[in-house]
Symmetry: C2
Amino acid sequence: MTLQLDVSAAEAILAREKPRRVVLNAPDGLMPLTRRFAREMEARNPQLETILIADPTYGSCDTVDGDAQRLNADLAFHVGHNITLPKLGRLTYTIDVWDDIPFDTVASEAAKVFRSRGFGTIGLVSFAQYLRSLEPVSAILRKAGLETLIGKGAGQLHDGQVFGCEFYPAFNIREKVDAMAMLGQSSFHALGVCLSTGKPTFMLDPHLGEVTDVQPLADERLKRAILSIYKARDANSFGVVICLKEGQMMPEQSMKLKRRLESFGKRAELIALREVTPDRINSIGGLDAFVQTGCPRISTDGYTFSKPVLSVPQTEALFKVLSGETLERDFLERHHWL
Amino acid sequence: MTLQLDVSAAEAILAREKPRRVVLNAPDGLMPLTRRFAREMEARNPQLETILIADPTYGSCDTVDGDAQRLNADLAFHVGHNITLPKLGRLTYTIDVWDDIPFDTVASEAAKVFRSRGFGTIGLVSFAQYLRSLEPVSAILRKAGLETLIGKGAGQLHDGQVFGCEFYPAFNIREKVDAMAMLGQSSFHALGVCLSTGKPTFMLDPHLGEVTDVQPLADERLKRAILSIYKARDANSFGVVICLKEGQMMPEQSMKLKRRLESFGKRAELIALREVTPDRINSIGGLDAFVQTGCPRISTDGYTFSKPVLSVPQTEALFKVLSGETLERDFLERHHWL
């Protein structure tokens, strides 16, 4: 594989904006590539100063526009979380990174798996780095006699794209397909697709050439998500967590959840955190459970919190349970988890 | 001991400012007290909303004024890091917390230690929580036949106060005293006093009733700080770290250090981090060493970084070494470490 950063798009922005100081941030896996790009920019333009913000970032919800402003930057490049919007905040441009590894082998393997399971129509989805592979994989599956569908983009999502928390292009075609094929080595995204669509979902890993049915892992995550809800039902006191990340901060929604919890006779405190980690949550004593309006995947993806920490869809399910309604197993089947 | 939060000062601010939404932050140890205070505020005024920002905070350099603004708060209380300024940033008031545990026993014990060592004049210092104990301890030592001195405040520091990075009231009296007495259970502060003054320094712990000579620990820290400088001398590539905390962010000073490193033929990259932790530093590959303009104690206090990570005074010492000058052991003897 070779990771490709969209240098020409970045260069066009630099030529137009003529910045003196540029801030960059990127997920850890793309940091070396991003630093190399920063050095190349500086080499081409000795007047240019670059600053890499090396805090962790997990999505287009996790930009550093405010920090770039505080650092007196003229613009910021958020690398690797490609979305439909060219600009976020006041200074931040999103710069695409894609992986040009071919999917030929794994797609042929996938076709065999789908046919052996009797699936006729396959929905294709992926995350930023493999969006360019959707059409080639579609062609291979069609050649093998399968029907394919790529869902239309919506909001920040391109056609066929999913985030960890948003699934429109997958969710909107779920009734028209027999299974979902998620392109790329990311059980994180495949799990989201499986749980949000309720369809059999297979991860196509081009690096290992493996096709993985994520249903067993999804079942386990769902079970754990449900268990947390029932644990939280019996809690008397709640921390209602506001996440301070730029694209995740929703204080008014947190206020609403707090009031709703209080309407059920629960005591609730508003707590804000930049990183909602077991370390920070476990350090807050005297509360029985937490609900949080930041990244829903914090709650569902195997963090070892000592108390229940519910995402927004889990919290809404909790309200149903507290109202005496039955908790259906499909409460995560929605186009987004916020 | 009972920790006392300055409720009447906070109440006076609330009465004057009549806020609707108040943000609070506090060091981990004072979080329970701060949360209790928040609940009392809300109980007294049902219109008031409070939000606790539960990210770690390590000093008055580590406020959350920007986050309070983003959360549409009307004011913020930064609890426990008492300074001479009543207000920091646009919204943040500092609220004092003190510990009223008596020092009688440990001060009498200290008097014996000082006399047995032949010390005549003792400088008294402490951090925010024990400033009210400086005069009572002074009286006990004087009664035992010792002379005492409490250094004048400067900048954000009250009389006799030290931070982890600023030592004016200790440094300015160092030539007039035989030893320093640091009130409170904090080898962190005692080490800073010892290394910045070069004087014998004793920690008076009122909880355990123990008097501890911190010289051995200070010698070990100094040795390690020097070792890092010599390791960094041989480095070819440097990360120059800007800390993103509100009171620690100094991009222009970092720029200067970068240019200075380059003038010695080193390659340097600017990197910004909110928390300068081993986890983040160790994740940045391809660099031989780091210098950082955030909290100097990150560099000197036993973090397990895999590469040298120099504070500002260490970096200045490095420049001396790179210029062929001798590195004197007193390079940390200055009134502040930034």
